[in-house]
Amino acid sequence: MKRMLSFGSALLMMLAFLPLGALAQDQQPTVTTTNLKVGDVAPDFTLPSDQGRSGVTLSSFKGKKNVILAFYVLAFTGG
């Protein structure tokens, strides 16, 4: 009976810690670090904009403007 109890409590402990471990893993994003360095040519792209029908092409600003690209996680997220 005592043995059964300790087995039971060990199982309980495992159960208690398992979800915690799974949760911690869920919250860990895999971060890919950019290979781009200062001085590299910025990869060109054309993307649809929320303003107007025509897309925005990065290379169209070459020789005209400095471009700041602000990548953000998702719309409606703070910061």
């Binding site: 993307l47 929320d50 471009v67």
Partner: protein, 104 residues
């Protein structure tokens, strides 16, 4: 914003949201610069800033919060990650500096 325009620069926000979602977001937070949609995540991959979040056995890809400053030659002048990328002051200062260097 006025500062950014005065420094002869343009600013774009980029995320994986659709243009209508970005439009609604822009209205809500009151930004006037264009928000671009990288729904295929192609640009995120090219810039190497994809973050994978495991979610119920699947992986969800988001953009890592990053600011790139690109000069008039199309070259990267500055990269800022995560929380430091929220404040645009550094990016604006760099753009102003770029113009001083080129004498504009």
């Amino acid at each position: 914003m006025a500062k950014i325009e005065a420094s002869d620069s343009v600013i774009f926000g980029i995320s994986i949201d659709s243009p209508p979602a970005n439009g609604a977001f822009a209205k809500q937070i009151g930004v006037t610069f264009p928000l671009l949609s990288d729904m295929t995540h192609k640009v995120l991959k090219e810039y190497g800033i994809v973050e994978d979040f495991p979610l119920g056995g699947d992986k969800v890809e988001f953009a890592r919060r990053t600011t790139f400053v690109i000069d008039k030659d199309g070259k990267i002048k500055h990269i800022e990650f995560d929380s430091t990328a929220i404040d645009p002051t550094t990016a604006v200062t760099i753009c102003t500096g770029l113009n001083e260097k080129t004498g504009k």
